[in-house]
Amino acid sequence: MVALVTGATQGIGLAIARRLAAGGARVAVNGPVRDAALDAAVAEVGGIAAPADVADRDQVFALVDRLRTEAGPVDVLVANAAYMTMAPFLEHDPADWWRVVDTNLTGTFQLVQAVVPDMLRRGSGRIVIIASEWGVTGWPNATAYAASKAGLISLTKSLGRELAPGGVVVNAVAPGVTDTPQLAVDAADAGTSVEEIHRRYAAEIPAGRIGRPEEIAAAVALLADPSIGALVGQVIQVNGGSTRCRA
């Protein structure tokens, strides 16, 4: 089984790559460029280097073609690569706004377009889209990110309906705040320390802590399981019980 995990050089993506590799998958480890972090992740999970900027359509299709030749068609796509900045809405630079949307939402659109023909031909495939709690709730100063993630949830539901008759199952995981290097970016944006950001987020979560990347990876493994086909177009929220996203 070949699993392509985007954004897999750190954080949630790396935990997903580890988890799927431990389950026996041959993992194509994606990062935007081939660098030391990518090579380290590939070595750790015994996978395949799969560098590509997911926002670049040509790179995405070239990568999937190369994987087909070198390892076989992609059985599982985990669309995890994401870009995020925080800024007050009125101050958000339009170019940066579109970079967020084009990495997160358009990147997933073209990844799915690249892998799905092989899946439909074989009548099976699993696609797991990493959304976000903020795509459910919205979040101040994260409008571009939240909109892109809400778009991914809607994309998941539509693709779930459209592709399930062909045996391709699409679902999403919506992590709450998770302990990843992104927290350092959030802390810098908020002008405070990583420890303080941890504390602030944890205080709002019923479980009293933020999530761990491995906990997101466990949900991804469930949705990547080829023996489960009855989960279709669903969004599993892994967020410590945050109640504000209960519609």
Partner: protein, 228 residues
């Protein structure tokens, strides 16, 4: 996580599939069912709070403290609203909502004290989206979701998770051969074009029991795409 799991409705259908899957994952499984079963299956009607309390006490004494509770006991009927009697309504709520409340009341204090535990309620897709000619069932299953999300908030500070699995129509004895849910014309409307299997539902339950440490108040719905 593994440990002692208690499954209500363990004698058949989804409950039986959950018990099998938990055992194969390494859990020690005890059951509660209306009908006598194997060695670790205790007879009780989940609608009867005293009987459930007594059964849980026996489980804890003979098997050990309960680390995971799965409430799968239930029954189903297709009945137009005007034909649902007060007794039908009462029975549906007592078994589903009462079954969860009774079992949760029996196990949660120990879980909170030990700072360890998972409760997984089997709800239904019909409790999320409603259904036609099963108002009592849909109301009872919807109530389970409300209770799950409330218990989740209360128990979260103690490291205890409470979640639900809301299956769509599933290939179990609850659906007779002539059930409209088995009609090929209905199945053709489902994105997955088929019923869910008890094993798929069981896998969602065991995910929540064993691996979902940061999931609480969540509803996972293996429903073949009936409700998205």
């Amino acid at each position: 996580m593994t440990g002692v799991a208690l499954v209500t409705g363990a004698g058949s259908g989804i409950g039986a599939a959950v018990a099998r899957r938990l055992e194969s994952d390494g859990w020690t499984v005890a059951g509660i069912d209306r009908r006598p079963g194997g060695d670790r299956c205790f007879v009780a009607d989940v609608a009867d709070a005293e009987a459930v309390t007594a059964a849980v006490a026996r489980v804890e004494r003979t098997v050990g403290p309960v680390d995971a509770l799965v409430t799968a006991a239930g029954h189903y009927a297709i009945t137009p609203l005007t034909e649902i009697t007060a007794a039908d309504w009462h029975a549906m709520l007592r078994v589903h909502l009462g079954g969860l409340a009774n079992a949760a009341r029996a196990v949660l204090p120990g879980m909170v004290e030990r700072r360890r535990g998972r409760v997984i309620a089997v709800a239904s897709e019909l409790g999320l989206a409603g259904g036609d000619q099963e108002a009592h069932y849909a109301a009872a299953k919807g109530a389970i979701v409300g209770l799950v999300r409330s218990l989740a908030v209360e128990a979260a500070p103690y490291g205890v998770g409470v979640n639900a699995v809301a299956p769509g129509p599933t290939d179990t004895p609850l659906l007779p051969a002539d059930s409209p849910w088995r009609d090929p014309a209905y199945l053709a409307t489902l994105p997955a074009r088929r019923l869910a299997t008890p094993e798929e539902v069981a896998r969602c339950v065991t995910f929540l029991a064993g691996e979902a440490d940061f999931c609480t108040g969540e509803v996972i719905s293996p429903n073949s795409g009936a409700v998205i």
